[in-house]
Symmetry: C2
Subunit: 390 residues, 2 copies
C-alpha cells in the first residue's frame, strides 16, 4: 500500500480538521496513512503516527472540532531542517506528502519536493489550502476564511448594538481583527451593516495607510449624529504619519497587536471621549459558534479533492477554488502549481474591493454561510420623544 504522510501547519482554523477528515475518508482503506504531529516540527523530528483503525477514527471525530488535532504550530524551516525532513520521509518510505496550511506551508512543501527530486527520491507532494485572513494566492478564497469572516461580521454588529445602548458611558469602541498584511477580515466587519448608525463607521485596512484626520473626522461625525462610533482595525494597519507598532518578537516573528490600543489613546486625547479597544482575538479562528456551513463543506471537499488528485498522480500542486458565479454562487476545485502560489506571495485585498465595498460584500456574502437574521434600525424617530432637550 502506498504510504502517505499528512500534517497540519500554521495557525488553526475552525475547519482545518474538516479538510483532514475529508482527506482521510477519501484515502482509507486503500492507502497507508501516517499522521505528522505538530506540523513541520514533527516532520523534522520524525514524529509520525502510523494510521490504524483507532487513530483514524479519532481523526474523523474531529471533523467539526476547532483547532488542528494533529498539532500544528509555527516553525522556522531552515535548509538543515529541510534535509532532515526529507531524510525522515525517505526512511519511512513515504511516497506522498500532504500538508494543510497557508503561504508558509506551500513554500515549505515546494522546497521539500525540490530537495527530494535533487536526491532522486520520487516524492509526490500536494498542498491543501487553509487561511483565516484570506491572504493565500492563486485561489478565490481558502477554507477557514468564510467562518472567520462570519465571526467578525456578527461580532462587530452585536458589539455595535451594545455600544449604542452604552453611549452615555462610552462613545467609541475599537475592534482589532487578524490580518497582518491583508484586510479581508477587517473589511468583513461591515458585511451586516444595514443602517448608517450601525457599526462599523470606520474600517482600517493594512493595504492603505490610515490617516489620522480621516479617522478623527469620521469618528467625530458619527458621535455627533449617533452618539457613538465603532472602529474596526486590522492588526497590521499603519498610520500614514508614523510607523507600525510591534509588541514583541517570538521566534523571529513579530507579534502584532497594539494598534487598537494606540488608536484608543489617540481618540481619547483628541476628542476627550471614552473609548475602549478590544482584540477580537483567537475566537476569530476558533469559535465553533460561528462556523460557516459553506466553509465547512468546502473544507471537507478540499480534503476529498486532494485525495482524488493523489490517486490521479498529480504532484507539486495546491487545491484551489476558482469562482465562477453565474446566477448563483459556484466554485470549481482546480490544481494550481505550488510554485505559482509561492510567487503570488501574500494576497492583499484588491483595489476594486477596497474602493467599492458593496462589490466586496457581494463577493463575500455566500462565503459566510447560512443567512444571519436581520436586525431592525437602532434609532427611533426622535421627534416622538416627549422631551427633546437632548
Amino acid at each position: 500500500m502506498k504510504k502517505i504522510a499528512i500534517g497540519q501547519a500554521g495557525g488553526p482554523t475552525t475547519v482545518i480538521n474538516a479538510t483532514l477528515a475529508g482527506f482521510v475518508k477519501e484515502m482509507t482503506p486503500d492507502f497507508s496513512l501516517f499522521f505528522i504531529q505538530n506540523g513541520y516540527q514533527g516532520l523534522v523530528r520524525g514524529d509520525l503516527l502510523e494510521g490504524n483503525e483507532e487513530n483514524i477514527n479519532w481523526v474523523l471525530e474531529h471533523q467539526n472540532v476547532p483547532g488542528a488535532c494533529l498539532g500544528s504550530g509555527r516553525y522556522p524551516f531552515t535548509d538543515e531542517k529541510l534535509e532532515k525532513a526529507v531524510q525522515n520521509l525517505r526512511q519511512n518510505s513515504i511516497e506522498v506528502l500532504v500538508f494543510i496550511g497557508g503561504n508558509g506551508t506551500m513554500e515549505a512543501l515546494n522546497k521539500v519536493e525540490k530537495a527530494a527530486k535533487d536526491q532522486g527520491y520520487d516524492l509526490q507532494v500536494i498542498g491543501l489550502p487553509k487561511t483565516v485572513d484570506n491572504d493565500l494566492g492563486c485561489t478565490d478564497h481558502a477554507p477557514g476564511f468564510g467562518s472567520s469572516a462570519r465571526y467578525v461580521a456578527q461580532a462587530t454588529r452585536d458589539i455595535s448594538r451594545d455600544l449604542h445602548a452604552m453611549r452615555n458611558f462610552e462613545q467609541v469602541r475599537i475592534l482589532e481583527t487578524m490580518g497582518r498584511n491583508a484586510g479581508w477580515l477587517a473589511a468583513a466587519s461591515g458585511l451586516l451593516k444595514t443602517f448608517e448608525e450601525e457599526g462599523p463607521q470606520f474600517i482600517g485596512l493594512p493595504e492603505r495607510p490610515m490617516k489620522q484626520l480621516d479617522l478623527l473626522s469620521t469618528v467625530e461625525d458619527a458621535i455627533r449624529k449617533y452618539g457613538c462610533a465603532t472602529v474596526v482595525i486590522s492588526e497590521g494597519v499603519k498610520w500614514s504619519e508614523g510607523v507600525q507598532i510591534q509588541r514583541e518578537e517570538v521566534n523571529g516573528r513579530a507579534v502584532l497587536g497594539g494598534i487598537s490600543g494606540e488608536v484608543e489613546l489617540f481618540l481619547k486625547k483628541e476628542l476627550n471621549i471614552m473609548a475602549r479597544s478590544e482584540l477580537l482575538g483567537i475566537n476569530q479562528r476558533s469559535s465553533s459558534q460561528s462556523v460557516s456551513n459553506l466553509d465547512r463543506y468546502e473544507s471537507f471537499l478540499t480534503g476529498i479533492t486532494g485525495g482524488k488528485w493523489i490517486k490521479e498522480g498529480w504532484s507539486g500542486i495546491m487545491v484551489s477554488m476558482q469562482r465562477d458565479d453565474d446566477i448563483r454562487y459556484n466554485v470549481d476545485m482546480k490544481p494550481v502549481q505550488l510554485e505559482d502560489v509561492v510567487k503570488a506571495g501574500e494576497r492583499l485585498m484588491p483595489a476594486h474591493f477596497i474602493d467599492n465595498r458593496d462589490r466586496y460584500y457581494e463577493w463575500l456574502l455566500p462565503l459566510v454561510g447560512d443567512e444571519l437574521p436581520t436586525y431592525p434600525p437602532m434609532i427611533q424617530r426622535r421627534d416622538l420623544y416627549v422631551n427633546q432637550q437632548n
Copy 2:
C-alpha cells in the same frame, strides 16, 4: 388607561430586549406605555417616548437582538437627580415605573419608590432582573447569565483546542472574563471540560485571592504533561500577595481589566515561556451566536410575569427565579422585595460551589441551554508514534 414607564439600565445583555418584548406584549393594548431612553439618565432628563403602534412594533422586533434597544448605560443617581426623576414621572402622570437591570437598578428603583411615597405620589414600582455575571441577590439566577456562561464555556473550550495545536509556539493563554466581584462567569469556563488536557487548567475567582505559587505550579504541571495551559481569570481577581490592578476610572467607576496582562508578564518571567493574555470582551454580553435558548425564554417570561404582577397591583418588588429542581430543571417566578435585593448586595459564588466545581456545573448546565456537541480527547496515545524522541 394606566400609564407605565419602562426603561433598561446597566450593561446590556443578549436577552435584555427579550424581557422588554415580553413585558410589552403582556401590557398592550390595555396600558399606555412610555419608553425611557438611556436608563436613569433619560428618566432624569425626561426623555420619555410615548408608545404607539410604530414604536411598539419597533421594540418587539428587537426581541432576539443583543444590546438594549431603548438605550441603557451607567449613570450616577444622586439625591438631586432622584428628585428630578420623581418630578418627571409625576408631570407625565406615570402610575407605574418598571426598570430592567441589576443591583444598581434595583437600588435606584427602591429609592424612587420611597421618594414618591414621601411626596404622597402613589407610584407602583417593579424591577425586572438582568445580569451577565449573576451577582444579583434573592434569585437563583437572572436573565442574561445563562447566555454569557454559554459563551465563556464554549470560547474557552475552543481556544484551548487552538492552543493545544499551537503549543510549540505558545504555551499559555490567559483569558479574562467579566465578573467584578463574583466568579460565576469565570468558573463557567470549565463547564465543557471533559479531559484533563483540555482547558481551563486554572481558574481565578474574585472570591478567593490568587496565590502566585498555586498558579505557577498548576501551569508548570500542565505544560509538563500536555505542553500547554489555559488559564481563566475573572477581571476582579486579586493576588493574595498584592493589590488589585485598576486601569482607570470613568464617572467614578473603576474600569477593571489588566489582571490577565499582569498574569501574562508574571508567567513569562517565571517560566520563560510564551504566554498570551486576552479579554473575552464585550462578546460575553453581546454575542448573538451563543444565546442560551432557555435564557432567552426565561428573559421573555420575566417580562410577561412583571406585567401580570403589575395588573395584580404588586409594588416594591423584583421578579425572581426560585429553583426547585426535582427530576429535572424547574424554576418558579416569585416576587421578592426590592429592599431585600438591595440588602443582599452583590451575590458572590458560594463556597459549596467554589469548593465543589462538579456541583456548580450540575447547577449551571441547564442554564446554558441546548446541549453543546462533545469533543473527542485532545491527545492520542503517544506510544503509537513511530519516533518517540519528543
